[in-house]
Symmetry: C2
Subunit: 336 residues, 2 copies
């Protein structure tokens, strides 16, 4: 009976203490990830950052080694119903069509002009490459940058009727800011075009051009009208995807990341390469589970397929974000 | 007579004021470039930095755009009697020779093993490339980094009998520090091997690996014994020299520098590309004029030839540093 009373008292006291402690914590320290629900994902992120930044911690990492790499499509912004750069490519084909009358009868351009996505898909990677070269090469780097800026200012996503750069993930923006506030250098390592991303990553993500790694075509230095220019050539320089991601990270950054963030099999080798370094590492996969607020897809998806990397994440205990459960909000424009 | 007295008084008073002012300046503000003699070169550097950093100045440049690129060989460290990386290559050939008995009779390896620099030179770029591939490829990136570190720890320059990393220019170290203190990001843009430089540029120059642009061979991601590795392949990826320098700067940094520093015709296109941007720019060439303390060479030199870039510097009013006249000291170990 005595014990029962004591226990009852403890049962009452402990929750009260927890409530008081919680209030005091929220009053004293600002939540660095307010758009993340209190979940194992959020706690794993904060635990990692605290361990690598606390002086004297056995997991402490010097600031210059705090390199974090982020995939872009499906990790920092959406990638459905197709990679956003493909919308750009298609719009470019339509813009350039009057000057290229042959495209009306020539695949894969004909497919694009007729909005025949099935025929476009049937042209495969070879067809896609042909379109990319026709739309991304032949101008100077300064001209291409202006084309990207102009397109972003006017193009709208078909579902959300908003600029594509509005469709970035609010929780990931908070994560980028949180990491940088803790001395991390944040990099993009994306299969997307490096010059398609650089004009806007600083404004949108706070990631400057020199911290963007991506796919590229070759350029050539020339003097035109007494002015030095870099001309974009219709020739692949580097594909920063799958096994290319560690290669790109090593080539551009020259350090192994201690944290890497992806969402698909295209990120698996980046995650493996990051995980294989010495000391504490953090690996995270964004799992698209929210068909209402965003999209739900994984193993069967054509865009952003998450299959092998999903299995490896589970086997190795990497953090898998469940977008529906872990994120209070998806896009910044949904913030109240 | 009255005037004479007045004038005399002024003549006495003004120099006194100047002396008092000089003392007060030197007491209040530390000279950021103490190893530079008071010369037009030094004043041009300081004038540029003050103009681009002073808030409200018509030449003001936002900190994120303050990108400065430096050639390495002959600009940040010496390059005589040959590029320092060639000493590394030659030592590697000798180290690997016991495992490659055929090299004893096979050019250009035979030339290296017999210290026959004439025969080596006769093998030309093709021979050099063959040696570079034999010594720089076939291992993982981690193994190569360790090889470079080990070599730097033991190799000595034939003239100065010191580690090669001792032969960096003290005035340029001060310049790097001065620029960074004024919000600049300092980058290397060198024809040398990117992975030959990255292991030591942070320690020696304060330039981290992710701010080093250089020549490279291709690498390939592999899983070996369950460990992900990057294997160095005997295939050129990129030559960061001459017209390649603006290409490399654009590819790695994605911004045009506002200041560039070189010493040879290999830097001309980098200087032209930098100069062609909008707003105030700073271009500097290190002219090797000091045969006693370092080396004297320019138009006729095989290593670090300065000919076309010399003419363009004069025509366009770029700053040309006269090492003998402008620098109080060459190397840090000569500091008293």
């Amino acid at each position: 009976m005595k014990c029962y009373l004591l226990c009852r008292r403890v049962y009452v006291v402990i929750p009260s203490l927890i409530i008081i402690w919680s209030i005091s914590v929220s009053a004293n320290s600002k939540d660095p990830l307010p758009s993340w629900n209190e979940s194992p994902s959020k706690h794993a992120i904060i635990n990692f950052v605290e361990r690598v930044t606390r002086a004297g911690s056995p997991d402490f990492v010097a600031p210059e080694e705090r390199v974090a790499t982020f995939d872009n499509d499906g990790t920092l912004w959406s990638e459905q119903p197709m990679y956003f750069q493909l919308f750009f490519v298609i719009d470019r084909v339509k813009t350039l069509a009057p000057k290229n009358p042959a495209w009306k009868t020539q695949q894969p351009f004909k497919a694009v002009l007729e909005n025949d996505m099935q025929a476009l898909a049937a042209s495969g990677n070879k067809g896609l490459l042909e379109i990319v070269m026709a739309t991304h090469a032949g101008m100077t780097t300064a001209e291409f940058e202006q084309i990207v800026r102009n397109w972003l200012a006017t193009a709208r996503h078909p579902r959300f009727k908003r600029p594509f750069t509005d469709l970035v993930y609010q929780p990931m923006l908070e994560l980028l800011t949180y990491l940088r506030a803790n001395g991390f250098k944040t990099f993009i390592a994306s299969g997307g075009g490096i010059e398609f991303m650089r004009p806007w990553t600083e404004r949108v993500y706070g990631i400057p051009p020199e911290q963007v790694v991506g796919s590229s075509i070759k350029t050539k230095f020339e003097i035109r009208n007494n002015q030095p220019v870099l001309v974009r050539l219709p020739e692949i320089n580097f594909i920063d995807d799958k096994a290319g991601k560690p290669v790109g990270i090593h080539q551009y950054i020259g350090r192994r990341p201690i944290a890497a963030f992806g969402n698909s099999d295209g990120d698996l080798q980046m995650l493996q390469w990051t995980a294989a370094g010495k000391g504490l590492r953090f690996l995270l996969i964004v799992h698209h589970t929210d068909s209402e607020r965003e999209w739900a897809y994984d193993r069967q998806s054509h865009v952003g397929r998450l299959d092998k990397a999903f299995d490896e994440a589970k086997a190795k205990g990497w953090t898998v974000v469940d977008m529906m459960k872990d994120w209070k909000v998806i896009y910044p424009f949904q913030l109240k």
